[in-house]
């Protein structure tokens, strides 16, 4: 066990798993998983480490997904620039939403973020360049740096060349996850935890709490945006679902289910929810009922989530 409370072998194992996964699991599924895992981890930075419940994170995820889709499809940018554009857009949006939302605390914070995200939803529904109900379809994946072909999402005839897109997504995921990890374990992250534990005390110790919250919000929004940007490349689609409150709720569930305030929790939560969704796609709209029931059970019976409960059993923080 190192100073981060997590065995480094776990990290090596996870990276190896990530590298070989597309040979075992359907790559599109893996990429969806990585996008949502990053989304949930970014959300967890806010809920788990700063104590802020945002109920509007779909605005960043979906907003970036639209921007990336538009940049790649209509402006002909290469995918990495598209993802960069989407991420920057989400960061800017995060700055605006964050500045407004941190003016209120607790439950109001959740309602403000939900309502502001609804404005983004309306824009996505009504603006001339978002495709209305259809969303942006047929977003081209293009060539990374104009050189590396990302068009395929599967390995053709055993050749791994078709996996370029997967490894691009995996690399971006690792980057995002590393940024979150560094943030949590930095002095900055310690202040965030202090705010979570006792905000008045953090204020009295002289920390400019608002500024810390805002920076955390922007980082979280930007990484949620990065996840959404990659999602639009993987599925070649940016849709209203991405910006809807359902998606905001889903990311809350993933984080809660895996374990709020744990590093691995959002990954496990995203894995569980994404797997459930694909396994249960035959039940149609009953999935909403199932998701809702998991929410209720989770809140009533295991508020620490899978990883949180596991950590309690093993008596260490995961």
């Amino acid at each position: 066990m190192n100073k981060y409370g997590m065995n480094r072998y776990v990290w090596v194992l996870l990276i190896v798993l990530g590298l070989v996964a597309p040979f075992v699991v359907y790559p599109i599924f893996m990429m969806k998983l990585l996008c949502f895992a990053l989304f949930a981890s970014a959300f967890n930075l806010l809920l788990g480490y700063t104590g802020l419940l945002s109920f509007g994170h779909a605005a960043f995820f979906g907003g970036a997904s639209y921007v990336t889709g538009y940049l790649v499809k209509n402006s002909g940018l290469t995918p990495e620039l598209g993802v960069l554009g989407g991420t920057l857009f989400a960061a800017l949006l995060g700055y605006i939403v964050g500045s407004l939302a941190i003016r209120r605390q607790g439950i109001y914070f959740a309602m403000v973020t939900l309502a502001l995200a609804q404005i983004v939803y309306f824009v996505a529904l009504k603006a001339p360049f978002t495709g209305g109900e259809d969303g942006l379809q047929g977003i081209p994946r293009g060539d990374l740096f104009g050189l590396i072909n990302l068009r395929h999402a599967y390995h053709v005839g055993g050749s791994p060349l078709g996996l370029n897109l997967y490894y691009f997504v995996f690399a971006m995921f690792c980057l995002g996850f590393w940024i979150i990890h560094r943030t949590i374990h930095s002095p900055f992250g310690q202040v965030l935890k202090a705010i979570r534990e006792n905000e008045p005390r953090a204020v009295s110790l002289g920390y400019k709490v608002e500024r810390f919250k805002l920076i955390a919000f922007v980082i979280s929004a930007a990484l949620a945006g990065m996840a959404g940007a990659m999602k639009s490349l993987v599925f070649q689609l940016a849709s209203l679902t991405d910006v809807s409150w359902h998606t905001s709720g889903e990311v809350v569930l993933m984080t809660l289910l895996g374990g709020v305030g744990t590093v691995l929790g959002p990954l496990v939560g995203a894995f569980t929810v994404v797997t459930l969704q694909s396994e249960l796609s035959s039940v149609g709209s009953w999935i909403t009922v199932i998701i809702g029931s998991i929410f209720v059970i989770c809140v009533l019976l295991f508020r620490r989530g899978f990883i949180g409960e596991l950590g309690r059993l093993l008596k260490r923080s995961l």
Binding site: S293, V299, L300
Partner: protein
């Protein structure tokens, strides 16, 4: 475009019609929040449930109990639906919400969010998302009345009048009666009120029941105006959240007045610049956050 007085007034009146729904729903949220410290995310879903109880009572209850000619009429639905939904709320409070009071308030929000998904999901499976008409509007409420400056549908006028009565009645009970004083004391200091021999847990249960019954009542009132659909609540709840952020949940009268005003502003926006009418409440919320972060009637804790 020429904007006539008539046009403005008719949209403002229609807006007021939406406003009374915002008022009843945000009032219910405020009452629940005051005592339970929970933001009831399921409020929209229960509003929808209220409309469906009325609809199903009218169309399906008769055949179900073996009396095909039996229809639960509108007036009965106005009583039955809030009672049914209120009872449902009481069960929810007793079995689930009660376990969460000692934890962070956010868990209450998350639990009721899950409940909202379940309720909405169930109804989406059995009913048309585009909505079903509720044809049980009583004869006496058909037609229009002349308000002097415009002709206004009788039913909408009835909705406005009865909603205002319910809102101000609730305000009166809470602010001016002995029962209300227990409630307000319970909001301030539940431990102390308990020490005086008041059954606070029962009071909390009934408060939640009353709050959600209000939502169901609004649902029945809305049923003849809008088509009854599984998503009618989720569209409503987000707007009502914005209303609550603007008004602050600290004051009963504040939430009523804010709801009414915002409905009228929304109607007015329809005349001035129609595309903005669906977002104007959210934009007002932004302005309020910038100018008076605690909300118009709020006191920041």
């Amino acid at each position: 475009m020429e904007i006539s007085f008539q046009m403005v007034m008719s949209q403002v009146m229609l807006g007021l019609n939406n406003g009374v729904f915002y008022a009843i729903l945000s009032l219910g949220l405020a009452v629940i929040f005051g005592l339970l410290n929970i933001v009831n995310f399921a409020h929209g879903a229960l509003y929808m449930l209220g409309a469906y109880v009325a609809l199903l009572g009218f169309t399906s209850l008769g055949p179900l109990i073996g009396m095909p000619d039996f229809h639960l009429n509108y007036w009965a639905a106005l009583i039955v639906s809030p009672v049914v939904v209120g009872a449902f709320g009481i069960v929810v409070e007793r079995t689930m919400l009660r376990r969460l009071y000692k934890f962070d308030h956010l868990y209450g929000l998350l639990l009721t969010f899950g409940l909202a998904l379940i309720i909405q999901g169930v109804f989406t499976n059995f009913f048309n998302v585009s909505g079903d008409p509720y044809d049980a509007k009583p004869e006496i409420l058909n037609g229009v009345v002349n308000l002097g400056f415009m002709m206004f549908p009788k039913y909408r006028l009835w909705v406005i009048v009865v909603s205002l009565l319910v809102c101000f009645g609730t305000w009166y009970v809470i602010e001016r009666t002995k029962l209300g004083s227990y409630l307000r004391a319970g909001t301030e200091n539940p431990e102390l009120v308990k020490a005086f021999g008041v059954n606070v847990p029962l009071m909390i249960t009934l408060t939640y029941g009353y709050g959600v019954a209000l939502a169901a009542f609004a649902g029945v009132l809305a049923a003849p105006i809008y088509s009854v659909s599984p998503v009618m609540g989720s569209e409503m709840i987000i707007t009502v959240f914005a209303v609550v952020v603007i008004g602050g949940m600290g004051s009963i009268m504040g939430s009523i007045v804010t709801g009414l005003l915002l409905g009228m502003v929304e109607g007015f926006t329809k005349v001035v610049y129609a595309p903005a009418s669906s977002t104007v409440i959210f934009l007002i919320m932004v302005i309020v956050l910038l100018v008076k972060p605690a909300g118009l009637f709020g006191k920041e804790s």
